[in-house]
């Protein structure tokens, strides 16, 4: 019985590989051998249920680690001007992170609206934290973020983060979020007006400051995010929900 031994290492994380927004290379080719093996008639019967159970148990560890934020903790400010060190401040908690700038009235509110919808799908008892990171520190000072949160009626518990350019950039780099300023026009007072092109993304962190999944922000499926959160919860606590 060489077949099951051969497919085991490749198949291990098959059930948890991301299927949407992946920019990271390698995930596709890693999956291919399993598809090939699956096409062989009767392989599941030969392998038997115990092995399948073993495979599933191995994959219960949840999605692969995309990035480890503990490698470069960043010191940011929330909307109350309180220092928040990411990821240390969220240790032990599952975190959903969206990336926005407050002068963006179309895509960014769509991402924020998605986060709200996702939050409605996730039980409060899981203590998931919701964080919006601004990539426009020049305009999005803490008081601007606080006012924005009020106008948009965001939950009090949400943290809106800004901070020094270098700190923010370090975080965005680890998150794989790209931004580019585009100058468009001049306001009446002669001030230049800019928008920011940016990656449309929501990220999921585990309780150890590691990025475990990226979603396309405007279209992230709340049900899928809920399942990922439950998987991380089970991984951390051993408790099936």
């Amino acid at each position: 019985m060489r077949t099951p031994l051969r497919i085991f290492p490749v198949a291990r994380c098959r059930f948890n590989r991301p299927d949407n927004e992946h920019t990271g290379a390698g995930s596709v080719s890693r999956d291919q051998p399993l598809f090939a093996a699956r096409n062989k008639q009767g392989i599941l019967l030969r392998v038997g249920l115990p092995v399948i159970g073993f495979l599933l148990a191995a994959c219960g560890r949840g999605p692969a680690v995309e990035a480890d934020l503990t490698r470069r903790p960043v010191e940011l400010l929330d909307q109350d001007s309180t220092v928040v060190v990411v990821p240390d401040a969220f240790r032990g908690q599952i975190v959903l992170v969206g990336y926005i700038y407050t002068h963006c009235p179309d895509i960014c509110p769509m991402i924020t609206a998605r986060m709200l919808e996702i939050a409605r799908h996730i039980p409060d008892s899981l203590l998931v934290r919701y964080v919006l990171v601004s990539f426009d520190p020049e305009r999005d000072r803490p008081h601007v973020l606080r006012h924005y949160a009020r106008v948009y009626e965001l939950p009090e518990s949400w943290r809106l983060l800004t901070g020094p350019e270098s700190e923010l950039q370090a975080l965005l780099d680890l998150m794989g979020v790209r931004t580019r300023r585009s100058w468009t026009s001049f306001a009446e007072n002669g001030e230049p007006v800019y928008f920011i092109d940016h990656t449309d993304r929501i990220s999921l962190l585990d309780g150890r400051g590691r990025v475990r999944r990226h979603y396309e922000g405007t279209t992230a499926d709340p049900e899928r995010v809920r399942r990922d959160v439950l998987t991380l919860w089970r991984e951390a606590t051993g408790v099936e929900l």
């Binding site: 179309d106 509110p109 948009y152 009626e153 306001a187």
Partner: protein, 148 residues
């Protein structure tokens, strides 16, 4: 006789189309994003053209904003999103053009006051044929209208 009559009808519809009472342009389900004073907001609306000829949305104005532009959100590689000004939007004859999240919007820049859910905002759109058409858009909370 018949061709003459139809030409007259077309001429009449063009003529009356320019008058406020006989609009061929209907602005359906307008709504607007919340926004902070000094910040920006976006107006979404279904532009319905009941007329037999296309029309063009040329510009918009709103007393609540310092400037108003027509914008399109464009996607680039790697899920990059970008807003771009557009100079006009064409409404097909007997058809509709939708300004909706993730697509086109009327961009309100430099808000003069906060826009909160429940507020109403007056916006005037100017069309090549139909001329100026006003609308009143309610500010919708984020919990509604996040969808594409």
């Amino acid at each position: 006789m018949k061709p003459v009559l139809s030409e007259l009808l077309v001429a009449a519809s063009v003529f009356f189309g320019a008058l406020p009472q006989e609009r061929s342009i209907h602005l359906l389900d307008p709504w607007i994003r919340p926004g902070a004073a000094g910040g920006n907001s976006a107006l979404y609306v279904r532009l319905h053209n009941a007329g037999s000829v296309p029309d063009t949305l040329l510009e918009a104005t709103a007393e609540v904003a310092a400037r108003v532009e027509l914008h399109q959100t464009v996607s680039g590689p790697g899920n990059m999103r970008r807003m771009e000004p557009v100079s006009y939007v064409v409404l097909p004859a007997r058809g509709e053009f939708r300004l909706e999240p993730g697509g086109w919007h009327v961009m309100l820049l430099g808000l003069k006051r906060d826009l909160r859910a429940g507020d109403t905002v007056k916006v005037e759109l100017r069309f090549a044929r139909a001329g100026r058409v006003q609308l009143q858009a309610p500010v919708r909370p984020l919990s509604r209208g996040g969808r594409r």
